[in-house]
């Protein structure tokens, strides 16, 4: 088991105007492991990812990458560190083929001419490394691919750049059973190759199928970071919905923090 995290967040705060979305959030991502980031809608999962990937800037807290403290101000910074995000809405161009999409914005050139053979070769090697053998041709338009294949291309695009941390935002949300299995297998393989993988998911089956660790967010706070083997399905559901489960999770809320708004009850 890897001792030091590849990516470590500590004390992350993020507010949008008067609304504080993240409170003192910490998260550790280890190389060779899949860390599942879970939480109900509005728990702050997407915000946290956008902070890591440089789309949002954090208000407070530290980001440590590979033992060094770093600051990520733009998606380009994150990419330079080797952090790649596969967004839910894939960000692929339907009218371009697989190779063109994988190299979009980072094309290989010889002089001013695109170096198509090199790009095609690299794309092929990346897909082969991920044991993807389901595409007919690397020159197929992305529009003609199935949902699972598109997700695969999006993931392959993220790992093409010798990335070290790959963050996947709900990669199986729109997929059928067989394609979900395919993508999960791919996620597992990424971790087995030594990458740090963050999997955001709503699906408990997916989480228990591939993850090594689970980090549960509850209303903008990190409720628990646990090993998947140490917890049960039910405990995780409690962490998501209530922020705690037995000895796990956030301390019990103090009832005096809340006003009673039950109709008919007046002080």
């Amino acid at each position: 088991m890897a001792a030091t995290p590849l990516l470590e967040l500590r004390g992350i705060d993020k507010s949008f105007g008067p609304v504080q979305v993240l409170h003192d959030v910490g998260l550790s991502v280890y190389p060779g492991e899949v860390t599942a980031l879970i939480g109900d809608n509005g728990a702050g999962k997407s915000t946290l990812v956008k902070c890591v990937s440089g789309i949002y800037t954090i208000d407070a807290g530290t980001v440590t990458f590979d033992g060094r403290q770093v600051s990520v101000h733009s998606p380009r910074d994150a990419a330079d560190l080797g952090i790649e995000v596969v967004y839910q809405d894939l960000a692929l161009c339907d009218n371009l083929d697989i190779v063109q999409n994988m190299f979009l914005g980072r094309e290989r050139k010889r002089g001013i001419v695109l170096d198509e053979p090199t790009m095609e070769q690299m794309a092929g090697e990346t897909l082969a490394n991920l044991s993807v053998r389901t595409v007919k041709s690397l020159r197929q338009l992305v529009a003609t691919l199935s949902g699972g294949q598109r997700q695969t291309v999006a993931i392959a695009k993220a790992v093409l750049w010798n990335s070290r941390v790959v963050i996947l935002d709900e990669p199986t949300a729109a997929l059928g059973v067989a394609q979900t299995a395919q993508v999960l297998e791919l996620v597992r393989r990424l971790a087995d190759k030594g990458l740090g993988v963050v999997l955001i998911s709503h699906n408990m089956n997916d989480v228990f199928a591939v993850s090594d660790r689970i980090a549960a967010l509850y209303l903008g706070r990190m409720a628990a970071e646990v090993k998947t083997s140490d917890v049960t399905h039910a405990q995780i559901v409690e962490l998501i919905t209530g922020g705690r489960s037995g000895h796990l999770g956030l301390p019990p809320e103090n009832p005096t923090d809340f006003a009673d708004i039950t109709p008919g009850v007046h002080q």
Binding site: D89, A91, C93, N95, L96, L104, G105, Q121, E125, A143
Partner: protein, 419 residues
């Protein structure tokens, strides 16, 4: 039907295409709604046959073929620029009058201001670039829809042209390089050398590309397809040259008239230039990406706004080139240069050629094929003595058919998951 499976250097298992499977794939693509320029090419052949049968003496003459190049040159140039704009799903309604304004600037500099031809040419292109910059800025940075921006520019440029020329004035340009651009022909020897050189370069590029892929162990097209393509292009260029180098003067004793019209290599040159830019540079790739999914392009770090501005600049520069060709052909510029049907014919040429109005799909060759279709209709119907009213109606119907084919193809594509 033998298909061999092989592992490429990339390691992804693919099927090595044969000539047969290549054709099958093509048919599949067509059936899947990816028509490209096929309907336009078929239409062009059909129209040529119809007019050829109706007027075999005049339509199928060398003189008329040369005439077609000159007729198509202006609108083809404008259409090439429009294809860049259409690729982003935008439109430039002002391209016609932008051509007129740029042509008028050139003509006035040549005549009233007595500037040399290179200065007048460069000034005309520069005016085009400035127009494009302004349009692109208003669309990309201010966020006004391109339809409105260019509609306003359409009206304004019409006025600018009138003011430049004075009410109803007509400025004739002096004899020289510019006037011969879309009027005269190359000497026969030059025509042949250029044709042979074009074929040789095309064959060489095809060969080098094929070699490059074989050396890397990548999947290649079947040799047969490459040879067929080279042979097809060679036949087209050489046969056209053979026809055009025949004597086509009415009375050769007075003045001899033969050779490829200068307009042909001009069209060919711009075709090669823009095809290279769109297909082989990262700038071109980014244009397709922004047209296909602007958000994905933005996330990939592509400067979307700058791309958007740049296509309007290219569009208006090509409008200036089109204007120069129009002025060269007429030998003069008047308040109607680039007006009436010029713009609509140019948009029509791009769409008939197979470029989508919805962005992301199109090639520069579409401007040439579509331009040829429009020129053939105009030319053929004139030879058959139809009134200009009937010609407009017929051209409208053809455009409608082209747009209909595009719409049906898109539906078909959506149904087969090949958007």
């Amino acid at each position: 039907m033998s298909t061999t499976t092989l592992d490429t250097a990339g390691g992804v298992t693919v099927v090595k295409p044969t000539v047969n499977s290549h054709f099958r794939d093509y048919v599949d693509r067509i059936r899947g709604g990816d028509l490209g320029a096929l309907p336009a090419v078929l239409g062009l052949v059909l129209l040529t046959l119809i007019f050829g049968i109706a007027r075999p003496e005049t339509f199928f003459s060398a003189g008329n073929l040369a005439n077609l190049f000159n007729q198509a040159a202006g609108l083809t140039m404008i259409a090439m620029g429009l294809i860049f704009v259409l690729l982003l799903g935008e439109i430039d309604l002002s391209a016609g009058y932008a051509a007129g304004v740029c042509g008028a600037v050139m003509a006035i500099l040549l005549t009233e201001k007595n500037y040399s031809e290179p200065v007048a040419l460069i000034a005309s292109l520069a005016v085009g670039a400035v127009i494009g910059l302004a349009l692109g800025f208003l669309v990309a940075k201010i966020g006004i829809p391109s339809f409105v921006v260019t509609l306003a520019a359409f009206l304004a440029f019409q006025g600018v042209l009138l003011n430049l020329l004075g009410e109803g004035k007509n400025v004739s340009i002096p004899d020289g390089f510019i006037k011969s651009l879309n009027k005269d022909s190359l000497p026969v020897a030059w025509s042949w050398s250029l044709a042979v050189a074009a074929v040789a370069v095309f064959a060489l590029i095809q060969f080098l590309r094929y070699r490059g892929r074989v050396v890397r162990g990548l999947v290649t097209e079947p040799v047969g397809i490459v040879l067929l393509r080279v042979a097809g292009i060679a036949a087209l260029i050489l046969i056209t040259t053979a026809i055009l180098t025949q004597e086509r003067a009415i009375n050769p004793a007075v003045t001899s008239l033969k050779g490829v019209p200068i307009a042909a290599p001009v069209i060919g040159g711009f075709l090669v230039l823009w095809t290279f830019v769109l297909g082989r540079t990262s700038y071109g790739r980014h244009i397709y990406a922004v047209g296909g999914n602007a958000e994905a392009a933005r996330r990939a770090g592509i400067p979307v706004d700058r791309i958007r501005i740049s296509v309007f600049v290219i569009g208006s520069i090509m409008a200036a080139v089109g204007g120069i060709m129009l002025v060269s052909r007429a030998g003069s510029v008047d308040p109607n240069t680039g007006g009436s049907s010029t713009l609509l014919y140019s948009v029509g040429a791009a769409v008939i050629g197979g470029t989508s109005l919805f962005g992301g799909k199109g090639k520069v060759i579409h401007a040439v094929i579509g331009g040829a279709v429009i020129a053939v209709i105009d030319n053929g119907m004139l030879l058959m003595d139809f009134s200009s009213g009937t010609r407009y109606v017929f051209t409208g119907v053809i455009l409608l058919i082209a747009a209909g084919v595009d719409a049906l193809a898109r539906r078909r594509a959506a149904a087969t998951g090949n958007r």
